[in-house]
Subunit: 396 residues, 2 copies
């Protein structure tokens, strides 16, 4: 992607706690996240001119296949707004942010809401699990009997042989994230967990054990996206600039790797590189996923990963804290909300509002540059939607 | 909405015929529409930098709830593209166009594909009909036993009393559109139908008879959206400028009417008014819907409508031809494709490529300005998504 016609920033974020809320509807989850973001931005809800709504499975889970945002935001008190429902599997939340950014960047509106909400828990869990199969080409996959976790574990074993990654490294990553989640009041799981506990949990597909994997979740997250000009006028909290928000689907033949390609695109458009990133949220549906992403985002080479994990390089007090929110496994992964929860965490970290899990900046009290990586779905063995977002705050 | 940072145009459109295609998948329908648009634009598919995909019911109908565009466009030969799935009930196609326009207008890409595809026909028709209920707030409506056609017929009877609209007027509108459809090779129904045939068809909810109503359909439509600058470089067919493409959801309390409000917004942003429009495609899921829209778009007052219909004012040779494609009732209404089929029709009319249904311009051989109105879904009695698009060609 090329540069937007004008600079765009985030002036407020909000979440509904991630977790299991059998008594709450998507309307309830949406309302809380949106109003938290509005309060955070210090604006009047009427200043919001348009909304992008992200949800993945409400059609199959609640029957609300169509006009999801219109239904759920109406309940939150909005009427008349241009609302666009967007979807891209587990990357949907980042896509809602991206579209809001583009719309403000085009000059069409000055203030746009991006919100993602998902409700996966039902009394009938089997229905939720069946719905999740929609994350791939259903017609094609029906013929294959494809099983995601198994295939993932096989790739993992290759990496272990090649780069010296061990099951203990995976457990250390999961343990770090469970600890981070224990400090996050919005996290689904707020209980620290030792490396031993994780290693001794049930094996899902060796080397993956139960506590290395994200589970189902309900929740919502929102961001208020705004032109720099309008943000200055409002004069609320320090605005956080969206330096870039890139999207791709799958691999491109002849290219090394879709994930590496989009990282390059993100760094190029932001005019930044891996050494500039001070805090990152990455998509760790399984704990080793964090390691794959760290490598592909250029933070370190695969062969040095194990050693860096052992040194605590990616922990809250390390050189590059990763998944300070707890990541997908601890903060939780209500699919359509995840991408925006990553953004909320980065905004809090960049503003110094992350409470007990606040990390330090390299050249200032709090970090100045954060990166979020979100991905979702599979088509012909490649991720269907890959996003990389870089946020940056001016010196305060 | 405010003006885009730069001007955006359409350089190619394409469709898959609308109809009943039990042996074709959404992949098949998408591929044909996209490749027709690419050929029409005279570009290489590789020049397309991003895509917006519109579909409403594939989740409930085929199980492909997630990553629809990624799955269906991969089959059309695309890989690596940023793809965003958008949804807004029957207005989804127009929303895909709008998002493509905004993205190009923001300067992020120079060439973006907007495509809408829908497959409603199944061997099991009851399942398709059940899925269509997702067009409203399903949780709220489940408690009401709301029946759309009946409520529509009641509103209609009020208008008949107030403005002298008669059942024969509705049949004339339907007959005009069936005739237009008979001249459109992409139309689902290509058989002219007399006013008498329409009046004597089965009563659905008086005054509505069977042939006044749109039915289910399969089909796809696509448009290639491009910066003016790039269009000039390519030098293909005469580009058609998107003068505006506005979106709202529902009514705004205290405002006269959401439909009137969005028409005003569209005219304001385009710097045009109702007298400038030379050809229009409007959302006539039922024939009288065309009359409601004509009035709310400011083309005439409700009380003069009947007389104008009797004079043939809205026919192919009239002063303002409406639904030259056949409209929803004759061209067909595969939900997510409809908005882009309207756009394809306008582009053909503005370029003088509409064949036997080509209309004349007022000050030049072919019309210079066309309007498309698309709407979808219901939340608390108001349309969930309203769009108005105005297209304009430079003098050739």
């Amino acid at each position: 992607m090329k540069k937007l016609a004008r600079e765009v920033c985030i002036i407020g974020v909000g979440m509904h706690k991630f977790g299991k809320f059998l008594d709450k509807s998507l309307k309830d989850l949406t309302r809380v996240a949106v109003w938290n973001a509005i309060h955070d931005a210090g604006i009047d809800a009427k200043q919001i001119e348009a909304a992008y709504f992200s949800n993945v499975l409400a059609g199959l889970i609640t029957g609300q296949e169509s006009i999801r945002g219109q239904v759920f935001l109406r309940d939150a008190g909005f009427e008349g707004l241009p609302i666009v429902n967007v979807e891209g599997a587990c990357a949907s939340g980042a896509i809602a942010l991206r579209e809001a950014m583009i719309t403000v960047g085009a000059g069409v509106y000055d203030m746009v809401l991006a919100v993602g909400a998902e409700k996966l828990y039902l009394d009938d869990t089997a229905r939720s699990i069946a719905a999740m199969a929609a994350n791939t080409d259903v017609e094609f996959m029906a013929g294959l009997g494809f099983q995601f976790t198994g295939s993932y574990a096989m790739t993992l074993r290759k990496y272990m042989q090649q780069y010296g990654w061990t099951q203990e490294h995976f457990a250390r990553v999961a343990s770090k994230n469970k600890y981070n989640g224990s400090l996050n009041p919005y996290a689904q799981y707020q209980k620290p967990m030792s490396v031993e506990e994780i290693l001794s949990s049930r094996v899902i597909a060796w080397p993956l054990t139960l506590y290395m994997c994200a589970t189902m979740g309900d929740g919502a997250a929102a961001a208020i996206v705004c032109s720099q000009e309008m943000a200055r006028k409002i004069g609320g909290k320090l605005p956080v600039t969206i330096a870039t928000c890139c999207l791709r689907s799958g691999e491109v033949t002849g290219e090394d790797d879709g994930q590496r390609g989009i990282a390059r695109e993100a760094y190029d458009t932001a005019g930044l590189g891996p050494p500039d990133i001070e805090v990152a949220e990455v998509h760790d549906a399984m704990a080793p996923g964090e390691m794959f992403r760290i490598e592909k985002l250029g933070f370190c080479r695969a062969e040095e990963m194990g050693q860096l994990i052992d040194q605590g390089y990616f922990s809250l007090t390390g050189k590059l804290p990763v998944n300070t929110s707890g990541g997908l496994a601890a903060r939780g992964h209500p699919i359509g909300a995840t991408g925006l929860a990553q953004i909320a965490e980065l905004v809090w970290q960049l503003r110094g509002e992350a409470g007990a899990r606040q990390v330090k900046g390299r050249n200032s009290l709090y970090p100045r540059v954060g990166l979020a990586q979100n991905s979702g779905g599979y088509v012909e063995g490649s991720p269907a939607a890959l996003t990389v977002t870089i946020l940056k705050r001016d010196v305060a």
